[in-house]
């Protein structure tokens, strides 16, 4: 798969199979295309070429099995909704057109809020929450999607210690239930502790595999050891649309 923004490729020839039932960290330097990878897989940015399948079927037919936690900064937290409203949005996919969330959806939302330890905040307007609490609301919303695969974009960035351990507990309980979780992560020291599997990324796939054998100094060197200037220049050339006179 190759992904391009404004015709400028940011990810080249990613060829990847994510194993089922694992916690998978997507690791790489800034601008490596970690978030872009997730967004391309979910169809939020168009892939220039390539295809994505979940359990052997195209994404469009499997959306109900996919949960998504976007970056916290991607929304306006002054929006006039409560914590419960946001979490209930996770159930909209299963509800489908026109049907309003009812008692069952409210119960789902309550249960998911409990799982992230946010029951006390259920009726707060979301602006009143701290950054870590907002992150947990997004996690609860993804839980309400009741998916088999989860994509999380930097859930650990800028959160307090309580939230960090809450997220970690949640990830582990998801793994126990046999779910697959892909997490964009950029805190290297915690990678070994958090993830079974890593995907090392820097504009192209560097390595992917079990953390034990893949998260090595050699591979990290390759991921972080200077950006590949040739790829940068080629991307620029593609954007310009060919050699300049």
């Amino acid at each position: 798969m190759t992904v391009a923004y404004h015709r400028k490729p940011v990810l080249w020839d990613i060829d990847l199979i994510a194993p089922e039932g694992k916690l998978i960290g997507i690791v790489g330097p800034n601008g490596a295309g970690k978030s872009t990878l997730i967004k391309a897989v979910l169809g939020l940015v168009p892939a220039a070429s390539g295809r994505v399948t979940f359990y052997g079927k195209p994404y469009a037919r499997q959306r109900h099995r996919v949960g998504y936690v976007p970056q916290r900064e991607s929304v306006d937290w002054d929006f006039p909704v409560t914590t419960t409203d946001v979490v209930t949005m996770g159930t909209y996919g299963q509800l489908g057109w026109l049907r309003r969330p009812g008692a069952r959806q409210r119960e789902t939302a309550r249960r998911c809020l409990e799982q992230v330890g946010m029951t006390a905040m259920a009726d707060r307007q979301i602006r009143q929450l701290s950054g870590g609490q907002q992150q947990r609301v997004f996690l609860a919303r993804a839980l309400a999607q009741d998916a088999s695969i989860y994509f999380m974009d930097e859930p650990f960035s800028g959160v307090d210690a309580a939230t960090e351990s809450a997220i970690l507990r949640l990830l582990q309980s998801l793994r126990r239930e046999g779910k697959t979780v892909l997490v964009v992560h950029h805190d290297l020291p915690t990678v070994r502790q958090y993830f079974d599997h890593v995907i090392l990324l820097n504009m192209r796939l560097i390595a992917a595999g079990p953390t034990e054998t893949t998260f090595t100094n050699e591979n990290l060197q390759k991921t972080y050891g200077g950006r590949l200037t040739i790829l940068d220049e080629a991307a620029e050339a593609v954007r310009r649309g060919g050699p300049q006179p």
Binding site: L44, S74, V81
Partner: protein, 425 residues
């Protein structure tokens, strides 16, 4: 005060228009598409004039088709300019808006030079003149209002998700582009039918003001939408009464008696002014978001801090004396705290009124209750200072200033944890 038939028709029309514009506009603002409405309205003017040149009448429905077409052409041009020239969206909005409006004004003056007599109503499309509204126009407005409100109610869930987090909506499989287009289509309909009453220049305000007002009174979208509808309908109705000279007739004299009567004022500006007045009241008096409430909160916390400082000062000055609650000379307190005299007097009065101190002319002593309160504050501060020195390794001489503010804010539960974390020595 009596309502003649014509006024009732006009009132009904503008209220329906204001209501639906408030509701649809709220979604447009939350989806960050408010300026699109502004462009659509301005870009409609050339279409109005062209339609008049072609049709030769000021008939409502015919002109509106022209307005809709040129408005949509304006929106399409913005998309084109953004994509083809890499112009930023706000710049493209500005360019298209002013160009179309300019063309519209030029066409309008051409139309005016044709002395056919039928063009009289056309000029009112710039600032709006609700008085020209007829019964059939109201039927049209009513239909659009019904369609718009039904669409917003039916697709409430989808639009809420789309406005809050479009990325998540897409990942969940909602056709966000089609939802956006649907919202824009309803927005365009509302704007176009509003043009004769409000005019192209100020139509956008009718979309934005009610939602902005409603936001001051609620944190729930489900309540904000009907509230915006009511505010929109109310300010439109109020403005219509003003514009139709109803207020003048009712009062018996002209409130705006400079030269002309208000009966000749265009409706558009009056609707905007009524909406702004309601917004201003909300900005000032909203209990949670309002300016006055915020000032009240600041003042309360300042006075509470002052009171607690008074109590803790009395406590510390009396601490080394054998009595449990000894008398402390007021001068000693004032030496420690740099209070203005009136501030100190008010604090002393307030503390004794609440039964926290007993005072004589030149001295004061804490009551039992006051001493308890003071002890809690002094303890919180000292724990915090100790925490900063031992836990955070801040030099002792840097500590006191910061601690002086925080003891008023620390929740009891955090103070307990501070105590637990300190080394037992």
């Amino acid at each position: 005060m009596t309502f003649d038939y014509l006024t009732v028709v006009v009132l009904l029309g503008t209220s329906l228009l204001g209501g639906v514009a408030g509701v649809v506009g709220t979604f447009a603002v939350l989806r960050r598409r408010a300026l699109v409405g502004d462009v659509l309205a301005h870009a409609a003017l050339p279409g109005l004039c062209l339609a008049f040149l072609v049709l030769g009448t000021v008939q409502f429905a015919g002109l509106l088709v022209g307005a809709l077409l040129s408005g949509l052409a304006g929106l399409a041009l913005i998309t084109l300019v953004c994509h083809a020239t890499r112009t930023k969206e706000d710049a493209a909005l500005g360019i298209v808006l002013s160009t179309f409006f300019g063309v519209g004004i030029v066409l309008l003056s051409i139309v005016q030079q044709q002395a056919s007599g039928g063009q009289a109503g056309l000029k009112s499309y710039i600032f709006g003149q609700a008085g020209l509204m007829g019964r059939r126009d109201v039927y049209l407005i009513g239909t659009v209002a019904f369609v718009g409100l039904c669409a917003m109610t039916l697709f409430y869930k989808e639009l809420k998700l789309l406005s809050f987090d479009p990325g998540f909506a897409r990942a969940q499989g909602w056709p966000t582009l089609r939802l956006d287009l649907g919202l824009m289509a309803v927005l365009a309909l509302v704007i176009i039918i509003g043009l004769p009453a409000v005019g192209v220049v100020l139509m956008a305000a009718m979309l934005i003001l009610p939602g902005a007002t409603a936001r001051f009174w609620t944190d729930r979208l489900g309540r904000m939408l009907p509230l915006a509808g009511i505010v929109g309908a109310g300010s439109a109705a109020g403005a219509t009464l003003l514009s139709a000279g109803m207020l003048t007739a009712w009062l018996g004299f002209d409130l705006f008696a400079f030269g002309d009567t208000t009966a000749n004022l265009p409706t558009g500006p009056l609707i905007v002014l009524c909406g702004t007045a309601v917004l201003l009241v909300s900005v000032l008096f909203s209990p949670r978001r309002g300016v006055i409430a915020a000032m009240g909160r600041t003042a309360r916390s300042r006075w509470r801090t002052g009171l607690e400082n008074l109590l803790s000062t009395l406590y510390e000055l009396g601490e080394r004396q054998p009595d449990e609650c000894p008398e402390v000379p007021l001068q000693a307190v004032l030496d420690r705290r740099r209070w203005r005299p009136w501030h100190a007097r008010t604090l002393l009065w307030w503390a004794s009124w609440r039964g926290l101190i007993e005072r004589s002319d030149h001295a004061a002593r804490l009551t039992q209750q006051g001493a308890q309160h003071a002890a809690r504050i002094v303890r919180a501060r000292r724990l915090w200072e100790a925490f900063l020195i031992h836990g955070v390794n801040i030099a002792p001489d840097h500590v006191h200033r910061d601690a002086d503010a925080i003891e008023h804010l620390l929740p009891a539960e955090l103070v307990e944890r501070l105590e637990a974390e300190l080394p037992k020595s």
